[in-house]
């Protein structure tokens, strides 16, 4: 029993063996500290991997609802019903913090510059990407080149910097990225070529924005200084594009002109000769998107091309569809004959079969609100379940670079026939169409396009309109259209009524010309017969401009759309941000 007397002292002694300071010193066990995060190239790679999350995915890319693609419901942007949010609304800066933190700290590991340079370039590429998105959305924004501290009120409460400064900084970042990124060819990593492509995209955007908004509310920065330098920016855009055209390994993917364009978007892995950067998906990893279900089910808004845009597709011989007699009342089967093959690569036209199938399918008006049913990216039916698609979605491709070059040259008035042949010409050749003739285009600007883009004028009006036609057709459903409308000051295209295909009225329609009735439009009771056809009741299932007297399909006729020229070219900043930072001013005419 005597022994027990010792237990307690031992217990107490044991307890005090943990010296207080050691016992309470507990460091994270499963996280790296910033100090130990930049010591190896592997760590730099891991860190820079985090930047890729900034790139768009899935519906960011294909769900391009503007004036070219519409669904049963309109977005606030399409409708003109955006409001000033209380907080958020896109004013997100976390990604920038992550990038700036890297740029401030990467050298702490003491790695040599040869090792760090490509990663620094990568960070600068993404900072440029970040700021480009911010400028496009908000115009002026504050520029930060460091991760902010919570107590740094000077920086936190900084007013907006002029977009002039931002764009100059973006270009400087891109130049640095171009200089240090590897000149390799990889569709899932940022390379020197990606940076050049972004530079041509940014400079074209900004150059045309400044040019077309020179005399409106958006032609000056938030401090009232006029936005100048459009010409220089366009020249930079052209130069970046030219560098890619001359020295990169990229070229257009060419195959049978009837199918080459379509093939580019249904290839299971990116076609590396043309795709500069794409987001890829995997069934095994359950990293997927929803484009099949979006386009083939009646459940996701039934997207379709808008009629006015479909009209802009040329005839296969290069002539204009809108010059055809009676084009406005041409029915579906007729209007899609002998058109630019890219139309058949974008929507269901007669003879369309699903990938991997030989069954010809007419457009399904149960799955497209306009009759022009999208097929870009749509893979075989085994991926038709909700979120079952894994086709890669392009973010940068060579075709855009060519279009950027042509547009930049045309907007600066320096375009030549050679330039056109090396750009638009190649795109048209791929589609089996004749090249664009500079002189002819300028001599006879397309009145149809001129009506859609009234701000285009001058000696190059004709070719600029043609380049815009080409850009719309080539890049539809790739998330370019909103920015294009904004920089071209073409917001009114959103305010126009949206239409679908033309139908003369109730009746039976053979949409694909195979002799079988595909569609029956009726009023009153459903007519008998045509068991395989689709029956749509006029006025409830589908609405035509003139009701039973026919006309184009009209979508949401009862919703009045507007686009405010003095306001809607920029997004509003959340009210909370304005309160938190009194130096921040709202964009024009938002309240």
């Amino acid at each position: 029993m005597k022994k027990t007397t010792y237990i307690l002292p031992i217990l107490i002694a044991g307890a005090s063996l943990f010296s207080c300071s050691d016992f309470l010193d507990r460091q994270p066990l499963s996280e790296l500290s910033p100090g130990s995060s930049f010591g190896s190239e592997n760590q730099l790679r891991q860190y820079t991997n985090s930047f890729y999350g900034l790139l768009p995915s899935g519906s960011d890319i294909y769900d391009e609802r503007t004036d070219q693609i519409i669904t049963t419901t309109f977005t606030d942007e399409q409708q003109g019903t955006r409001t000033v949010p209380v907080s958020g609304g896109g004013w997100d800066w976390g990604a920038l913090r992550n990038i700036n933190f890297f740029l401030e700290n990467y050298s702490r590991g003491g790695l040599s510059e040869t090792i760090t340079a490509p990663y620094v370039g990568l960070a600068k590429f993404f900072r440029a990407w970040f700021y480009f998105e911010k400028v496009a959305r908000y115009g002026d924004v504050p520029w930060y080149s460091q991760a902010l501290e919570a107590n740094d009120s000077t920086l936190l409460l900084k007013p907006r910097d002029s977009r002039m400064l931002i764009i100059d900084s973006v270009i400087a970042d891109l130049d640095a990225a171009i200089a240090s990124l590897p000149a390799s060819q990889s569709s899932d990593r940022i390379t020197r070529w990606t940076a050049l492509a972004l530079k041509s995209r940014v400079c074209l955007f900004e150059g045309t924005f400044r040019k077309y908004h020179a005399n409106d509310d958006f032609g000056q920065d938030s401090r009232g200084n006029a936005l100048t330098g459009a010409e220089e920016l366009l020249a930079l855009s052209a130069a970046a594009a030219k560098e890619l055209m001359d020295n990169s390994p990229y070229s257009l993917y060419v195959n049978d002109p009837e199918s080459a364009y379509h093939e580019l978007f249904i290839a299971p892995s990116p076609i590396n000769t043309e795709i500069i950067l794409a987001r890829t998906f995997s069934e095994d990893l359950q990293v997927v998107h929803n484009v099949n279900y979006y386009t083939v089910s009646p459940s996701y808004g039934k997207p379709g091309l808008e009629k006015g845009f479909v009209n802009s597709y040329l005839m296969r011989d290069g002539s204009r569809f809108t010059d055809q007699p009676g084009f406005a009342t041409m029915q579906f089967y007729d209007e899609v004959q002998n058109r630019d093959p890219r139309l058949s690569g974008t929507i269901r036209t007669p003879g369309y079969t699903r990938v991997g199938s030989s069954v010809e399918l007419p457009p399904d008006l149960g799955a497209t609100v306009t009759g022009y049913q999208l097929i870009k990216y749509v893979s075989d039916p085994s991926h038709d379940k909700i979120n079952g698609s894994v086709v890669p979605l392009p973010i940068f491709r060579y075709a855009e670079v060519l279009l950027n070059y042509a547009e930049a040259k045309a907007e600066t008035g320096t375009i030549t026939q050679e330039d056109l042949d090396a750009t638009i010409g190649l795109l048209r050749t791929r589609a089996g169409m004749p090249s664009l003739d500079l002189a002819a285009a300028n001599a006879n600007p397309d009145p149809y396009l001129a009506g859609r883009y009234p701000h285009v004028s001058g000696p190059n009006q004709g070719v600029i309109l043609e380049i815009r036609r080409e850009r719309g057709i080539e890049l539809v459903m790739e998330d370019f259209r909103w920015n294009d409308l904004m920089r071209w000051k073409a917001g009114q295209l959103l305010a126009q009524p949206f239409h679908g295909a033309y139908f003369p009225g109730p009746g039976s329609y053979d949409l694909d010309g195979d002799g079988a009735i595909d569609l029956v439009l009726f009023t009153g009771d459903r007519p008998p017969g045509n068991p395989d056809a689709q029956f749509l009741k006029l006025g409830s299932d589908i609405t035509l401009e003139n009701g039973a007297d026919g006309g184009r399909v009209i979508v949401n006729a009862n919703i009045a759309k507007t686009f405010r020229e003095d306001r809607d070219y920029l997004y509003p900043i959340a009210t909370q941000e304005l309160l938190l930072n009194p130096n921040l001013v709202q964009n024009p005419n938002w309240e």
């Binding site: 237990i7 107490i12 307890a15 997100d92 976390g94 009646p298």
Partner: protein, 1205 residues
Amino acid sequence: MRFLSLLSILLLFFCAGTRAQETVFNTQAASGSQQKQLAQVLADIESAYYVNFYYNETEIAGKYVSREFSIHAYKDVTRLLNRLLYNYQLGYEQVSDKYYYIFPVEDHPRAGRPAGNRALTTIDSDLANRVAPQPLFRTKARAIRQQRTIQGKVTDASDNFPLPGVNVMVKDGTAGVSTDLEGNYSISVPDDAEALTFSYVGYVSQEIGIGNQTTINVQLEPDVQSLNQVVVVGYGSQKRVNLTGAVSQINSEMLEDRPINSVGQALQGAIANLNVNFGDGRPGGNASINVRGFTSINSGNPLVLIDGVPGDINLLNPLDVASVTVLKDASSAAIYGARAAYGVVLITTKQGQKGELQVVYNNNFSMATPTTSHDFMTDGYETARLIDEAFQITTGNDYTGYTEEDYEELRKRQTDRSLPDVVIQNRNGRDQYVWYGNTDWWDYFFRNQMPSMNHSIQFSGGSEKIDFLVSGRFNQQLGMMQMNQDKNTAYNLRAKIEAKLTPWLTLGNNLQFAANTYNYPGSGSRGAVNTSFVYLGVHALPSYVPVNPDGTFTFRSQLNNYGIADGRNLELQYGKAKSQEKEFDFTNSLNLTLQPLPTVTVVGSYSFNLNPYSNFHRNTVTPWSVYPGEISYNGNDYYIESSSTDQYHVVNAYATFADNFGLHSLKVMGGYNQELKKYHNLNGRANNLLSEDLNALDLGTSDHQVGSNSVEWALLGFFGRINYSFADKYLLELNGRYDGTSHFPAGSRYGFFPSVSAGWRLSEEPFFEPLKNTISELKLRGSFGSLGNQSLSTNLRSANYPYIPVMNTGLSSWLMDGQRVQYLNVGNPVTPALTWERTTSVNAGLDLAFLNNQLTASFDIYERQTMDMLIPGKTLPGVFGAPSPRQNAADLETRGFELTLNWQQATSLGGKPFSYNAGIVLSDSKSYITRFDNPQKLLNDYYVGERIGQIWGYTVDGYFQSDEEAASYEAIVNQDYVNETRLRSPGDASRLQAGDLKFVDLNGDGVVNDGQNTLDDHGDLSVLGNSLPRYAYGINAGANWNGFDLSVFFQGVGKQDWYPGSETYFYWGVYGRPYYSFIPENFRSKIWSPENPDAYFPKLRGYSARDGRGALRVYNNKYMQSIAYIRLKNLTLGYTLPASLLDRWNIARIRIYFSGENLFTASPLETDYVDPEQVSANPNGGRGDNDARNYPFMKHYSFGLGITF
């Protein structure tokens, strides 16, 4: 308890400092302020020395003692008794360490023997004989009356232990005996005697009519509110009378005999200002507890200690609990320093008792049913029409895609149910199923009757040297999910043993094991069974059916853009998506108690807790069909498993010195505590499974992902307490703790937390004597002190290394070379100089007892300053790009009070003893922000002066009665800002018109808006209510008579407001998302129309309760709900079989009972589809679900049986 009684005995031995006392004894009957009844003096001795006397009251009556006589002036009880009793010709005999007989000297067998100067007698084997039942006293009248003998046994009603030394008296006082060590007595009473009274210190006295009985067995109820009660406090215990802080305690009977599944349920409403909330009503749902209202923006919870070790009340067997003590103010909690800022809950488990093996078995079978109404619209036609109408108004389109022909079909099926629910029709060019049902989806998915059962058994006993208690429990509750019914299963085991190795050394071990498993259908993370109420709540229209004629499941109608229940219906129907949570808890405490000196006790303990938690979620691809013969698929196929291990080490070592110095009594305690937590988690995910039933990562065929993480934290502290009292009248307590934590940087890691408290027992003062017959106890208390909070609520890294910046890791959804890439990125910013959140609190209290403690009252008022709250710093501009780092940057003030009232009485009814009791607890608190960095006073953040919980909103003046009225109002007041839904509506619907809400332009600027949304410019907002509970109360009452016991317990909240959340389909119906699955029955009658201008809801506009600035979404006075409530929490009727029936089977006690929980609720809340408790916020502002889309609360009807052998 044990410790204290030991201590008291030691005190008797070693008492330093005697001083000569001038004592005056007066054996003459006299009265006056200079005299005290001998009985009263003996009672004082009992409470001061923890001893019990038994004696015949008539023998003591009429004897007086001078007030000058001090019971504190003697070294020990024996000397005191020698001095005191000598003058009255009384002697005494010590029969055990606590019990003394007092008897007239000439009456006792050992009369004449000098009674004093004997050391404590150890009970020897013939003690039982010596104290065998024998008359202590007989009146002279006995010879001339006819006598008869009554015998019986007196036991403790709470644990059935025999009570020795109970005074058994004939009512007229003519005879009296005491019970023996086995609790038995035998008394001769006159034939005409009416009743016996049974009295015992610390128990409620009982009077029982004799009638024809010859055997009267009695169970005495412990006197819970007795001022002599010993209360558990930090690292020790304290007599209630000597408490100076705000401490409340309840004992086991609050937890027994109720069909409760967890301790939290029992504590709800039981203790003033101990606030218990349940986030939902799911089986095994956890309670969150709070002490004294809103604690901190950063949230702060009380420290919960189970037998001195931090623990989880949700894993505790309710029947193991002996007492629950809540330390509310700074002085009582200060001993726990840095974790006690928001109170301490001390749970003490039962201890084995000396005596024969005792076996207690209890069971309970219960049936649960939701407390709320679930009568929804199930008419396919009516519902589809209503939904289409609501959807059409706002969006311009219909929702269902039904044609007029479809509606005609639906209308036919309103009356003719023989028509098929599903037909095949060609739509959009294809044959498909078209549904014309009248489905009750609620009944399809959920059950209404859920059984549960509980079995528990306890073995206890002991000898002089060793006592033990072993208990076990099995609890199973079934849930309401119709398919793959959810089930919670809990097992508990406790084994407690204590051995007195030597007279000065006691070794104890306390082992606790709990296992809890919850299985539920569907996939999702912890608690995710609630997501079923979210998903199932949409798109399941009555006109849809669950199954097609070919047996396939339904999902999309293909007539619109939506899928039933967002696919959750498929998961449930297909039945392969399942989840499980499993938790084990193992705690072992080894305790050593040493008494090197009689005045000194040293306790050392080491406790180890192991808490493995695991869960899995399995999701599968689910088949569905809408085109006959064609199966489509939905969802993904994956399996997620996570398992974590918590290890917790606690070392406590402390020593107590206690002694009396004359009238001075001193107790000093000091000690050391250290705690270390180690947490490790391992988790994995596999896709594309080989099996839809087996749960293993190995069965995934692609993309195995694994991860792990670890956390450690540590605490240590030195603490001390000094208790001083003078003459039991003036009480003083000092506490202090010096605490260190690993959560803060080395420079700011330690804090000192002192407190002081004092009490004054006015009732012990001479001047109080005239009142003493009415007010038996009056004590004033006051305390002041400081406490810390280090906010350790989670295993998240950020909570445990808040000052150390770290990098995040993750798996990108960007693929490189076909694989997801691992990435590293910047962590959230931290503030390097974090330190304690500190509270200082002031408490004033009053304890009162009336009518010899029949009525007791306790009142406390307090103010708590929460300083340097660790909060996400002030809202920073978005360009900061990260959440604001936590800082010690805000202050808060909380004020409140609590009141406890108890009444108890034992009397007789119909010749049978009848006892009853009633009690009320009431508490309240209010909190204000006193420092917060929000100079603009943005209303969407905290600001200085803000009362926590306040709800800002608009004022509505009814509906526009006509379009003209709307137009003329619109001409002067623009209410577009709060009419987002209307403005986005197409055509005519975008006009303000009859039936729309008329918003009042309070500030007269012609525009209804929130101005700058700041305090200075809040537009037309005003404070409409407060979301935090006020006046939480509990009311209990109970009665015992003739073996029957009845208890009722009400609980409620006196004041609380709730604005129904934007997804509250039970309330908003089609005004929220028009396509909710569960729209209350007869909803159309609540919709405004020209014919129904007084309807509850305005003109129908779908989404107006959901759009950010929709007319119903913006908080307004018309739809603000009061969710005050009173609820019959429990009603129990029990019957204890007469002991005479049970003797032959050797059974000590059998009790059967019927009980109900949540039987009745009253509330001004407008809807009966929402339980007010379900949306009630806890005092920290947290709620299960503001939209009431969580597991419904249940009422329970149960039957139970308890047997003691």
